[in-house]
């Protein structure tokens, strides 16, 4: 090969690189074989406590659901996971049709007309919703309203994304506006300078709130409304599309994607028909080939960065391909009945857990007047930081301490319950809380 190229040694291929810095001696540990790295990673991973051994009531944006065996088995087909972005439709029909089916199911689930092929996660999907809304109004509306009951990390990401737009004000999530379920203060902030209003359904506290009045108020001012949803909840609850939402985004992790310490996850993004040409990210459409055969292709690509360059509204150039595929297989496999079943199990077990904990003297459910899905807030009679430590002694991850993000919810825990939680473990949490609090 060197002879063909016309050089003597391989180093000659690099002779235009700065000589002083060529071929550095990298300080890395000695090379490992597959057998050695396998053992090493076994050891590293087993030094973690995982939700396999621990009784976990953690949610707050990532949920421990059961994934049917067929999902990961299909995902591990090399034809899926070692393929690139389907830019060549003739040899990518598998990925393209899967995206088409994903778009369809997300559309059906959210009640929206059009879904894209996904964003990075729920948080960045929210940020993309803000960018889209900003451009929808050609930069002429300067206010973005985020509900304080929207996942705090989503709100942070929106602010990170929009920091290059100093003429945009991101507001609505201040403590003074509050977290009341009636949304009175929040709704009052909507005006004709508001581009988009973002709320969560169920919200960060698990509450199921009727957003119809809010959406009507926003539309009266000409503003768009984006709803960030938990997809599992939509198996049981009226989808935002039916109450007039313009944009529905969300975290797709509950749809068959492992917790995997926070990623990779899946941001879904769906809009009403009016906004179809403003959507960012990939979109698959149906067409025919030269022989009249049904075919799928990436479509409306002229919106994207590789064509529009600096005129594109988003720089996104991947989607969460494999995670999107996982969710497509998951939704297909569970189907109409299974998906309702899993949502109902979450709902029932969470309600059982809430009533059990609420019955302990000193513990009380916050927002107990508002319906909730599979997550709820409990105020503890003791310091929650210490309480969580005590629970850990019993191999319980007792939920998410809300005092980090909400000073007004001091000593409050956000507790999530999924279909995987057996009744005994809920009872064990109840008994342990009783023991560590009252002994």
């Amino acid at each position: 090969m060197l002879k063909t190229i016309g050089v003597e040694k391989i180093e000659d291929l690099f002779d235009k690189l700065p000589e002083d810095f060529r071929f550095p001696d990298l300080k890395l540990p000695p090379q490992q074989t597959e057998m050695e790295i396998a053992a090493d990673l076994d050891e590293i991973s087993s030094s973690n406590g995982s939700t396999k051994e621990l009784i976990s009531f953690l949610g707050a944006g990532a949920y421990d659901h059961y994934t049917p065996a067929a999902v990961d088995n299909l995902l591990q087909r090399g034809e899926f996971y070692t393929a690139y972005t389907p830019y060549q439709p003739e040899i990518s029909q598998g990925t393209l049709q899967a995206i088409f089916e994903y778009q369809s199911m997300i559309g059906q689930l959210t009640g929206m007309s059009v879904s894209n092929a996904s964003h990075y996660d729920g948080a960045t999907a929210c940020a993309e919703a803000v960018i889209m809304a900003y451009h929808h109004f050609r930069g002429k509306r300067h206010k973005v309203l985020l509900s304080r009951a929207l996942n705090p990390q989503y709100r942070q990401v929106v602010r990170t994304y929009m920091q290059g737009n100093p003429d945009l004000t991101i507001t609505g999530d201040e403590q003074a506006v509050g977290i009341d379920a009636d949304l009175k203060n929040f709704t009052a902030l909507i005006d004709n300078d508001t581009a988009v209003v973002i709320v969560q359904y169920p919200d960060f506290f698990g509450r199921v709130i009727n957003y119809k009045p809010l959406i009507e108020a926003a539309h009266a001012q000409g503003a768009l409304v984006a709803v960030a949803v938990n997809p599992t909840a939509l198996a049981l609850l009226t989808p935002p599309g039916e109450i007039g939402a313009d944009i529905v985004v969300g975290e797709g992790q509950p749809l068959g994607i492992p917790l995997s310490y926070g990623g990779p996850y899946l941001g879904f993004f769906a809009v009403n028909e009016e906004l179809i040409r403003k959507i960012s990210g990939r979109l698959v459409g149906q067409t025919t080939d030269v022989q009249g055969q049904l075919a799928y292709v990436l479509t409306l690509t002229a919106r994207e960065q590789h064509i529009r360059r600096e005129k594109a509204t988003s720089n996104i150039c991947s989607n969460q391909g494999l995670m999107m595929l996982a969710s497509t297989i998951y939704l297909t496999l569970l189907g109409k009945q299974g998906f309702k079943q899993v949502a109902n199990l979450c709902y029932q077990k969470a309600h059982y857990a809430a009533s059990q904990i609420n019955a302990i003297t000193g513990y009380s459910q916050v927002f107990s007047e508002t319906p909730f899905f599979h997550e709820f807030v409990i105020k503890a009679p003791v310091n929650t930081e210490h309480l969580l430590l005590d629970l850990r002694g019993y191999d319980i991850l007792g939920g998410y301490d809300l005092s980090h993000d909400y000073p007004e919810l001091k000593n409050c825990l956000l507790i999530a319950v999924t279909e995987k939680m057996p009744r005994e473990n809920i009872d064990f949490l109840h008994d342990t809380l009783l023991e560590v609090t009252h002994d």
Binding site: K27, Y161, G164, T313, G321, N344
Partner: protein, 489 residues
């Protein structure tokens, strides 16, 4: 054969997966919120498995054959990486678990940060960015924040070479920077004279892809960096092409201030049919305080008996949070395994073989195809997919004809500065036999272009579908299993 969609395969009452009955007393669903209809498919598990298996068979993939897709680094994805990411201790950890309970994850992330610092010659690394494009966004935001912090709000111009990936300008525009295109000279380097005319106190920085998208190493790179630094700008390195530099040159050593890696290219994590990617960003001392929230660190040093305690720190002037949690952890595990299995010498070997393979192909093909920049390439090179005397044969036709021979086509029509570009990146994982077979086919296609061009125009012939009508797709916009009209009813 057309595969029906899941909605067409659905049959009422069929069940693919059953959950246990509730083990608690059931309560009513919230009144006024009950969903009426849940239009999801109804299929048996076997039907679902067959459907998706059949779909998979309509894909081309690295596991099936040669994938010389320029700028995408379609190298083999070792199977051990898939096993590693699925270890229960990794896959079943919740991102909000207390730090003490995820020391294994934090150790792995910390070590990967350290390795990426060492490989690139940098002072700090964030693993948070979800993909290369988000890595660029991170880098550009840090550059902007650096200037604001140094009382230079007027520094808003970002220079982007005309050969750059489309994400570079899109990213810059997203954060309000003013994109100024920078021309290349006749050797494919940045035009130094043009550069010197464009730098002043409005300069925020330069986004540099080196080797560039022509696969060429910029021969004046140190001078380019010096000019930008002297004008007060910072240099962003697009690390999409790091496969050429592993163990060969550390971008940080030559003065690049910030660089993103693509774990899904250079470090062999699978492309997954379009994602997930992972785009860690490395910075030098200047930009350390601006790293995104949050970075893994040692919070308590260890001693002979105890390992160190790992945790997070929040950089003081951070640009903020880029996504939920800490990044694509599952992708990090794969990259960790890959680097551990190569180490310094192995990484250098990767770059050397990638560059050797590319130069070999380039030399074998340059007699048949026009090579606009005829000098030693790095890990990829760009040919013209066009002959003046056969004006109706295009790069597009060559790309499609390659599919008939079970090859994935090269990237075509990019970079934009080459007419009818065919951008070829063989990677280090291919054998000489594969490369030779590709050469033979490329030469055969060039002959066919003269003797039987219709073969090229009609290609591909044997794929699951033939050339598709993209205009029709954009016009009719059928983007879900139900047409829009039906949905509106």
């Amino acid at each position: 054969m057309t595969e029906p969609t899941v909605y067409e395969l659905s049959s009422p009452g069929r069940v693919g997966f059953k959950f246990p009955e509730p083990d608690v007393e059931e309560v009513a669903l919230p009144i006024g919120f009950e969903r009426e209809d849940l239009p999801l498919p109804e299929m048996s598990e076997l039907e679902v498995v067959r459907h998706f298996t059949r779909l998979s068979q309509k894909n081309y993939a690295i596991d099936l054959g040669f994938y010389p897709l320029g700028s995408c680094t379609m190298k083999y994805n070792p199977k051990i990486n898939e096993v590693a990411a699925r270890l229960p201790g990794f896959a079943y950890t919740h991102p909000l678990q207390p730090e003490e309970s995820v020391q294994g994850n934090l150790y792995l992330m910390y070590t990967l940060q350290e390795w990426l610092k060492e490989i690139g010659g940098f002072a700090g690394v964030t693993l948070m960015p979800a993909a290369g494009a988000q890595g660029e966004f991170t880098g550009a935001l840090m550059i902007r924040k650096y200037h604001l912090d140094h009382g230079q709000p007027q520094r808003k111009r970002i220079l982007i070479p005309d050969s750059a990936h489309g994400t570079n300008p899109a990213t810059s525009a997203m954060i309000g920077l003013e994109v100024v295109p920078l021309p290349s000279d006749e050797r494919g380097n940045i035009d130094l004279e043009a550069l010197k005319l464009l730098v002043d106190d409005r300069l925020a920085g330069l986004m540099l892809t080196n080797p560039n998208t022509l696969g060429l190493f910029d021969e004046n790179v140190q001078e380019v960096i010096r000019v930008v630094h002297e004008a007060g700008g910072l240099v962003y390195g697009d690390g999409a092409n790091m496969n050429a530099l592993l163990g060969v040159l550390r971008p940080g050593d030559i003065g690049i201030d910030v660089l993103h890696y693509n774990l899904h290219k250079t470090f062999s994590t699978p492309h997954g049919g379009g994602g997930p990617g992972s785009g860690p960003v490395a910075v030098n001392e200047k930009l350390l305080p601006y790293l995104p929230d949050c970075v893994v660190t040692i919070v308590e040093p260890g001693d002979d008996e105890n390992p160190p305690l790992f945790g997070f720190y929040h950089p003081e002037k951070s640009i903020g949070r880029l996504k939920s949690f800490y990044g694509h952890f599952g992708v990090m595990v794969r990259a960790y395994a890959y680097i551990a299995m190569h180490s310094g010498a192995g990484l250098r070997d990767i770059a050397e073989k990638a560059v050797l393979n590319a130069n070999y192909l380039m030399h074998k093909l340059k007699e048949t195809y026009t090579l606009p920049y005829d000098r030693t390439c790095m890990h990829e090179f760009v040919l013209e997919g066009f002959w003046k005397d056969i004006p109706d044969v295009h790069a597009f036709d060559i790309a499609k004809r390659l599919m008939d021979f079970d090859f994935h086509p090269p990237t075509n029509y990019f970079p934009l500065i080459v007419k009818e570009a065919l951008m070829i990146e063989p990677t280090e994982t291919e054998t000489l036999e594969t490369l030779d077979r590709f050469v033979d086919v490329m030469i055969q296609i060039a002959e066919e272009a003269r003797t039987n061009p219709q073969l090229l125009h009609d290609a591909p012939h044997n794929t699951p579908v033939r050339r598709a009508d993209e205009l029709k797709a954009a016009k009719e916009l059928v983007v879900c299993c139900y047409p829009l009209e039906e949905l509106q009813k």
